[in-house]
C-alpha cells in the first residue's frame, strides 16, 4: 500500500501547481510559500483504503440482505472461512500455498519468456519492413484466437507437462509485448535517430542505445497490460492436465459448486496480480524517470 502511494506521487506531472485556491490570508512578508494544500493529500492517501472498505461493507450488506442467492455471491464471512480452511487444511490434497507457488512460477516463466521473446521481435519488426511483413500476419492472426481453442494443438505438440502450460501463457502475452514495443519504436522522435546516426552509431547500436530506451515507456505499459493477460491465460493453461495451481483451484472448486473457494481463488489471483503490477511500476519508475519530460 505504502509502495503504491509513493509510486503515485512520483508519476504525477512535476510542475503541476495545486488546483485549489491557495490560502493567502495572513500577509506578513515574506509570507510562507503557498504549497499543496494538505487536506487533499490526506483524503487521497486514504482513498484506496476507504474505497476497499466501502466495497467490503457493500458486499456484506448485499449478501446479508440476500439480494442474490449465496450460490452466486457468498458473504465475506463465508469466503473468509473458506480461506482459513484452504490455508489450514488445503484442498484436493495440497495447501493453497502450493497452488500459489506453482501458478506464480508458471506465470513468471511464461511472462518473462514473453518479454525476452517479444521485445527483440518487436524492435526488429518495427525497424525492418521485411520482417514486419513476414511476422505480422501470423501475429495478428494468433492474437484474437482464444487460448481455449489451441489447447489441443499444444497438447499434441508438447504433451501434458509444464511446457504447454507455460507456452500458452507465453503465446497469450507475447503479442501484447510485441505490439507495445512496435508502437514505442514508431513513436521515437526522428531527431534522436538522426543524432545517433550522425554520431556514427551502427544500426545495432541505434537499436540498443536509442530505440530501446525511447520505446521503454511503452514497453513498460505493454508489460503491465501483459501481466494481466498472462493471469487470465492461467485458467486456460491449467485446464491442461493440471492438478495444482490457482487456475485449477478455481476450475475444480467451480465444478464442485464451492463458490466460496472459487472466490478465494479469484481474490488470491487478484491480489497476486496486483502485487506484480505494483512491482512492475516500481521497475518502471526506476527505468523511465524521464517520462513526460522528453
Amino acid at each position: 500500500m505504502q509502495e503504491e502511494i509513493i509510486v503515485q506521487e512520483n508519476t504525477a506531472p512535476a510542475d503541476a501547481l495545486p488546483e485549489a485556491p491557495a490560502p493567502a490570508l495572513g500577509a506578513d512578508r515574506p509570507p510562507p510559500v503557498a504549497q499543496f494544500p494538505l487536506r487533499w493529500r490526506h483524503v487521497s492517501r486514504f482513498a484506496t483504503a476507504t474505497a476497499l472498505c466501502v466495497a467490503l461493507v457493500l458486499w456484506e450488506l448485499v449478501s446479508v440482505l440476500h439480494i442474490f442467492p449465496p450460490v452466486a455471491l457468498p458473504s465475506p464471512v463465508a469466503v473468509w472461512h473458506a480461506l482459513v480452511l484452504l490455508l489450514v487444511q488445503g484442498y484436493g490434497g495440497h495447501s493453497l500455498l502450493d497452488d500459489i507457488w506453482i501458478s506464480s512460477v508458471r506465470i513468471a516463466i511464461g511472462f518473462i519468456g514473453a518479454i525476452v521473446l517479444g521485445v527483440p521481435t518487436g524492435l526488429l519488426m518495427a525497424r525492418s519492413d521485411l520482417i514486419f511483413r513476414i511476422i505480422d500476419p501470423f501475429l495478428q492472426f494468433v492474437r484474437p484466437v482464444p487460448p481455449l481453442a489451441y489447447i489441443p494443438l499444444l497438447v499434441v505438440w508438447f504433451g501434458i507437462g509444464e511446457l504447454p502450460k507455460i507456452l500458452l501463457i507465453l503465446i497469450g502475452t507475447v503479442p501484447v509485448i510485441i505490439i507495445g514495443t512496435i508502437s514505442g519504436v514508431r513513436g521515437t522522435p526522428s531527431l534522436r535517430l538522426s543524432v545517433a546516426r550522425t554520431l556514427g552509431a551502427s544500426e545495432s547500436q541505434i537499436f540498443r542505445y536509442v530505440i530501446l530506451p525511447s520505446a521503454l515507456p511503452e514497453i513498460f505499459t505493454a508489460m503491465r497490460v501483459g501481466i494481466g493477460v498472462a493471469w487470465t491465460c492461467l485458467v486456460a493453461a491449467e485446464l491442461i492436465a493440471a492438478d495444482q495451481g490457482l487456475g485449477w483451484l478455481v476450475q475444480y472448486a467451480g465444478q464442485a459448486l464451492q463458490v466460496s473457494i472459487v472466490i478465494v481463488g479469484i481474490i488470491v489471483i487478484g491480489v497476486i496480480g496486483y502485487a506484480m503490477e505494483l512491482l512492475i511500476r516500481v521497475f518502471e519508475r526506476r527505468a523511465v524517470p524521464w517520462r513526460g519530460h522528453a
Binding site: L191, S194, A196, T198, L199, G200, A201, H293, A294
Partner: protein, 244 residues
C-alpha cells in the same frame, strides 16, 4: 574533407526549398552560411549529413556520393536532441561510446564539460538543464568526436553574448588544431564573418547561393576586427542581400 554540392534542388511536395545550389568547399575550411529563416539552411545541412536525399543534383564528400550519415561528419542540430535517459556526461560521451565503449577518453569529455561551463552538472538529467545548457551539451557531444567534417546549425543561438564569445574562441582554437571542414549556420552576421574562411549568403526561399566570398581577415581573429573596413564592407554586402 572537401565537399561538393552540385546543382542540388530539394522539394517538399509542391514546395521548392532549395533551387540549383552549387558549392565547392575545400578541405579544412571554415564555411559560414547566412540566410533568412526558412530559406533551406537546415535542409542543406541535413543533406550534407546524409539524412535526406536531394530531389535533384548530387552531393559528394571526398569525391564519393553522400548517401547516408557517416562517422566522418558530425552534426550539431538546431534542436539539442539530447537523450533524456542519459546524464549530461553520458550524453556528451555518446559518440565516443558508439566508437568503442571501452576506450572512452573521459579526460576529453571532462575537459569539454569544463570549457562549456557545465561543471557540477555532470550527473544531471537533460531536462533539468536550461535551454542554453542543453545547447552546450549538444555542441560538446559533437566536438568531443573531433570529426573531419563538422556541420553546425545555429549552435550558439540560445547563448548569451559572453558564453557565446567563449564558445567561439574555443571552437576556433579547436579547429586550428583538428583542421576539420566546418559548415556553420548562423543568424549573427558578425559571427559569420568573424569565424569563417568563406561566407555564403543564401537568398530567401527557394534558397539559392546569393553571395559567396572569401573573408578577407587574417587569423587568429578577434573582436576588434569587427571595425575593420573589410569586415564592414562584407557585412554591408551580406545585409543588403538579407534585407532584400
Amino acid at each position: 574533407m572537401p565537399i561538393l554540392v552540385d546543382r542540388v534542388c530539394k522539394d517538399f511536395g509542391p514546395l521548392r526549398v532549395l533551387d540549383d545550389v552549387s558549392l565547392t568547399i575545400e578541405d579544412a575550411t571554415f564555411v559560414t552560411i547566412l540566410g533568412s529563416s526558412g530559406c533551406g539552411k537546415s535542409t542543406l545541412l541535413n543533406m550534407l549529413a546524409g539524412l535526406t536525399p536531394p530531389s535533384a543534383g548530387r552531393l559528394t564528400l571526398d569525391g564519393s556520393n553522400v548517401t547516408r550519415p557517416g562517422p566522418d561528419r558530425v552534426v550539431v542540430f538546431q534542436q539539442a536532441g539530447l537523450y533524456p535517459w542519459l546524464s549530461l556526461r553520458d550524453n556528451i560521451a555518446f559518440g565516443l561510446r558508439m566508437k568503442s565503449a571501452r576506450s572512452i577518453d573521459w579526460a576529453r569529455v571532462d575537459e569539454l564539460i569544463e570549457v562549456m561551463g557545465l561543471k557540477g552538472f555532470e550527473n544531471h538529467r537533460t531536462y533539468e538543464l536550461s535551454g542554453g545548457m542543453q545547447q552546450r551539451v549538444a555542441i560538446a557531444r559533437a566536438l568531443v568526436m573531433r570529426p573531419r567534417v563538422l556541420l553546425m546549425d545555429e549552435p550558439f543561438g540560445a547563448l548569451d553574448a559572453q558564453t557565446r564569445h567563449t564558445m567561439q574562441q574555443f571552437l576556433l582554437g579547436l579547429w586550428e588544431r583538428i583542421r576539420a571542414t566546418v559548415v556553420f549556420i548562423t543568424h549573427d552576421i558578425d559571427e559569420a564573418i568573424l569565424l569563417g574562411d568563406r561566407l555564403i549568403v543564401m537568398s530567401a526561399r527557394p534558397g539559392r547561393v546569393a553571395l559567396e566570398r572569401v573573408v578577407p581577415l587574417a587569423r587568429p581573429r578577434h573582436w576588434d576586427m569587427t571595425l575593420d573596413p573589410e569586415f564592414l564592407d562584407l557585412k554591408r554586402q551580406a545585409m543588403a542581400i538579407l534585407a532584400a
